[in-house]
Amino acid sequence: MSSKLCIGGIVEPGSTVINKTGSWRTFKPIYQKEKCIKCGICELSCPENCIIKTEDGYYEIDYDYCKGCGICSNECPRETIEMVLEEK
């Protein structure tokens, strides 16, 4: 970090986005669009906000931030999201 410290340690909003937490992942969610009923439970249930709705109403996973917790997969009513071992 090279920028000068702000008096009192004031921080800019939403700045954690520079920290890509995808490297934490052990299991990776694989989204299978063909099974998806667009219910949105996965999006709502993601603690990292990394399931993003696309223009066609389906979803994509932002692997930059996904920690691989698997809540999306656990909560999906149609087994649309499969957790597979991350290959690094």
Partner: protein
């Protein structure tokens, strides 16, 4: 000539706080601070402090915590406390200075329990010396009142942004009736600009206050507080001058002197005892004794250079303390004055005395006794570096 009104010291200070136009006053009652907050609540109840929110919090801990929230949201804040109340705030005092929130608080100095004592000494604020707050000490109700807009102007400076305590002695000054000039609103508006912090809690510009720091940045934040204190060293002087220009009253900046220039014996003190000392010095000077007074107005930041310069020609320096560091057996002024002189070419003996603890009276005879002991020490050297001058040996 400004009009003099006979009022209680607490009223003078409450009135001074009012004309500084505070937005939020959270306060919790504690003797001998109560009259200040009662007067302020009356002002608020009568709509005399604009839209000011007076909050009757449930503890001093919440008083200072509410100050933090209010100040971070952009409000000018005020509160007053003392002793146990100040001690209860301890944790939050560090937090306020670390967050660089320029809170202003009057401290009506009082002893610390146990034994329980509601009377005056300086142990309460002295115990908070490392919390990063500016600490100024007033010698009479007029100075305590005048100090109020001064500390706002000092601590709200964007290079300083540190909280400040304006300290004045409980009961001795809070409850005394004296003629004072109540601060004029128009002059205060001219002297003190509105509070305009750079960052506030505002949904249209959402900043984060109070992030946690890892070891890579913590020391730098602490050092930045020190830089703020350094800036305050100058600002305290200039603000005292500006105050003098507008109101026509001056009490010194960081320090002040009384018969100081040619003094061989230099007494060093803070607070209301200054008045007693000045009277005694008038007498002793009439007898031809070269005794002077160094009044410490700013204890934090500690005016090391100003003190060195002020005492360099003395034969002996005599700090007089209303506090004690138990286990060191000396008061804070004694310790800090000694530390200020070390590593310099100034080699002057320092003879410390403690007195007036827990509200014990300090009659003029006691000051004279101290001066006479100092005279002996100049000739014979110092045998005991620090001691109570008013200890009742018969009780021990």
């Amino acid at each position: 000539m400004s009009k003099l009104t006979v009022v209680e010291g607490s009223y003078a200070v409450a009135h001074a706080a009012k004309v500084c136009r505070p937005d939020v006053i959270p306060a919790y009652p504690i003797t001998p601070q109560t009259h200040i907050v009662e007067e302020l609540s009356k002002f608020a109840a009568n709509g005399e402090i604009g839209a000011c929110e007076y909050i009757t919090v449930e503890s001093e801990f919440s008083a200072i915590s509410a100050l933090i929230g209010a100040c971070a949201a952009g409000a000018r804040t005020y509160s007053a406390t003392t002793s146990q109340g100040l001690a209860l705030m301890h944790e939050v005092l560090f937090n306020a200075s670390g967050m660089r929130l320029p809170l202003v608080m009057t401290v009506a100095n009082r002893a610390m329990s146990a034994p329980l004592s509601i009377w005056n000494d300086h142990q309460d604020s002295i115990a908070q010396r490392d919390t990063g707050w500016i600490q100024l000490y007033a010698e009479d109700p007029q100075e305590a009142a005048d100090m109020t807009p001064q500390v706002y102007k000092i601590c709200e400076d964007n290079k300083i942004m540190l909280p400040a305590m304006a300290c004045f002695d409980g009961f001795i000054l809070t409850h005394v009736y004296e003629p004072v000039v109540l601060l004029e609103q128009d002059l205060t508006d001219e002297f003190l600009p509105p509070f305009a912090p750079e960052h506030i809690l505002d949904p249209s510009n959402p900043k984060t206050f109070g992030a946690f720091a890892d070891p890579g940045v913590y020391s730098e934040f602490r050092y930045m507080q020190e830089l703020g204190m350094s800036a305050a060293l100058k600002k305290i002087e200039t603000v005292a001058d500006e105050f003098n220009e507008i109101y026509g009253r001056y009490y010194g900046g960081l320090i002040d002197g009384y018969y100081l220039d040619d003094a061989e014996i230099v007494l060093v003190a803070m607070g209301s005892v200054i008045g007693t000392i000045k009277d005694v010095l008038d007498e002793l000077r009439a007898e031809g004794k070269k005794v002077g007074l160094l009044k410490i107005r700013s204890f934090r930041p500690f005016p090391t250079d100003a003190i060195r310069n002020a005492v360099k020609n003395a034969a002996i320096i005599v700090p007089l303390d209303k506090s004690i560091s138990i286990g060191k057996y000396e008061g804070a002024l004694c310790t800090e004055i000694k530390a200020s002189l070390y590593n310099t070419k100034i080699d002057i003996p320092v003879l410390g005395y403690m007195f007036g603890h827990g509200g014990r009276d300090i009659p003029p005879e006691r000051i004279k006794k101290i001066v006479s002991e100092a005279e002996k020490a100049i000739v014979n050297g110092i045998t005991i570096e620090s001691s109570y001058v008013d200890l009742r040996e018969e009780l021990l």
